[in-house]
């Protein structure tokens, strides 16, 4: 009986304590840079699309919300002809970001994507592409990968080791 009275009194005292609710639209939460929100496609320092349309993100996606089609430009560089993310399916798990070898696909700390129509949640490449390199400013896939592009042969990039002669037996 006494403990009931004590409980009542302690809960009553909570009237004077601070409320923990964050009044969201007025008070914005500070989200860390790695927070998994809206997905974007980034560009390298030269302003070219990072995405090489390798399909790894689409393969990694557990809800199959990513659809893309590979294409090649005149210099032999691969790019997605279309790149489509259905955000009504996306679960923001970040597997696509982890799978991406070029840091092209990235998750951002933006979650305010409410829409009146379901169709508006399907983002095309124009909606996903941003103008900059996103979270990884200095990374350029073609500089470190050993892949030949115009003006750079394999082994000429930064951190790039000369290609191995696969026909030689010497170590």
């Amino acid at each position: 009986m006494w403990s009931i009275v004590q409980t009542l009194w302690k809960v009553f005292l909570h009237a004077a304590s601070k409320r923990r609710t964050v009044l969201y639209p007025e008070v914005r939460p500070r989200l860390p840079a790695r927070w998994r929100g809206r997905i974007i496609l980034s560009r390298d320092q030269a302003g070219k699309e990072r995405c090489v349309a390798c399909y790894l993100c689409a393969a990694a996606c557990p809800v199959d919300c990513i659809a893309l089609q590979a294409a090649q430009d005149a210099s032999g560089r691969r790019y997605p002809a279309f790149f489509r993310i259905n955000f009504s399916r996306c679960i923001f798990c970040g597997y696509c970001e982890e799978a991406c070898p070029t840091y092209a696909i990235q998750l951002t700390p933006d979650f305010e994507m409410g829409e009146w129509k379901r169709r508006s949640l399907i983002y095309e490449k124009e909606d996903l592409l941003i103008s900059g390199p996103g979270k990884y400013r200095d990374y350029n896939f073609y500089e470190v990968s050993g892949v030949a592009i115009e003006g750079k042969n394999p082994g000429e990039g930064i951190d790039d080791e000369p290609p191995v002669d696969i026909r030689s037996l010497l170590p």
């Binding site: 009931i4 409980t7 009542l8 302690k10 809960v11 009553f12 909570h14 009237a15 304590s17 601070k18 409320r19 923990r20 609710t21 009044l23």
Partner: protein, 307 residues
């Protein structure tokens, strides 16, 4: 002419006031619960979230009014009306102030029993079984705990009981009576520490599991009207009714009633639900003997000293 119109106006005014208060209590309770649980509660719709009640009402009006095909249709429809009517009828005897009252007349059990039985659903039936047993058990000493007050006042008339509290509020000489009446009142209104007939966490929603739309709303409003009624009764019987300095009687009455409504909400915020057998044992083994002892002692003292 005024002999008929004045009481009619009064009835309309009190009916309006009670229904408004009951609806407003939904908002009030959610805000107070929020306050005591360190959050805000509804604060978006209108000033302080006051229009939340309106929004909820509009929503509940437009919900599908579903009557399950296996339910006993006429009884199912009547049950929610019974709760509203019985609680409203009880309000008729409350003297709100020295001059504001309707007439000098509890059947809520029927509503719970009928609702649970006609729903033909195991949770509803379990809820109503519990509800009926709980309400009947607590009804027993609810009346008995009043008897002390009645003896001290020498009358069953609520106005006379308030008049008799001129020198001292009955809560002081009748403290045990007050405590037993308060606990019985919580059980009768099926409010949170003793809300076993509803018990969301175990019985879905108890006896009104199958109800939707406005019928559910009627149970809901009925519950809040019950809270108001019990608070009004506690005020009248133990806390001097409309008596108080400076302010007019109706204001004092409202303030005291409001304080008890707040206490009801505080209990909801603070206390866990007891087990069902604990509830029944507490009623029959503790509170009933306590009320009887209180009755005997009061009777003896009144006989010995005030005759």
């Amino acid at each position: 002419m005024t002999a008929i119109t004045l009481p009619l106006l009064l009835i309309a005014a009190i009916l309006f006031a009670v229904l408004t208060v009951a609806a407003g209590l939904i908002w009030f309770e959610r805000r107070l619960l929020g306050l005591w649980q360190d959050r805000y509660g509804p604060n978006r719709v209108g000033p302080f979230g006051l229009a939340q009640v309106l929004a909820d009402m509009v929503k509940i009006f437009f919900k599908e009014d579903w009557i399950p095909p296996f339910a006993d249709r006429p009884v199912f429809v009547i049950a929610p009306a019974v709760i509203i009517v019985t609680v409203l009828m009880s309000f008729a005897i409350v003297p709100f102030s020295r001059h504001i009252m309707v007439v000098d007349l509890n059947m809520g059990v029927y509503s719970v029993a009928l609702a649970g039985w006609s729903s033909d659903n195991k949770y509803a039936l379990l809820g109503s079984l519990r509800g009926v047993a709980q309400m009947l058990s607590y009804e027993v000493f609810m009346g008995l705990s009043l008897m002390g007050v009645v003896m001290l006042a020498g009358s069953y008339n609520l106005s006379a009981i308030v008049m008799a509290q001129e020198r001292v509020w009955f809560v002081i000489p009748q403290f045990i009576g007050f405590v037993t009446f308060l606990i019985a009142g919580i059980a009768e209104t099926r409010r949170l520490p003793l809300d076993l007939p509803e018990a969301e966490s175990e019985l879905v929603a108890g006896y009104h599991t199958e109800y939707s739309s406005l019928k559910f709303g009627m149970f809901f409003v009925g519950e809040y009207m019950g809270v108001t009624l019990i608070s009004a009764f506690i005020t009248l019987l133990f806390f001097g009714g409309w008596r108080g300095p400076v302010l007019p009687g109706i204001v004092w009455f409202s303030l005291k009633t409001c304080a008890f409504i707040c206490f009801f909400i505080l209990m909801r915020a603070a206390l866990p639900r007891p087990r069902y057998d604990q509830l029944m044992a507490f009623a029959w083994k503790v509170l009933l003997p306590l009320a009887l002892v209180n009755l005997l002692a009061t009777g003896a003292i009144v006989l010995a000293f005030f005759r």
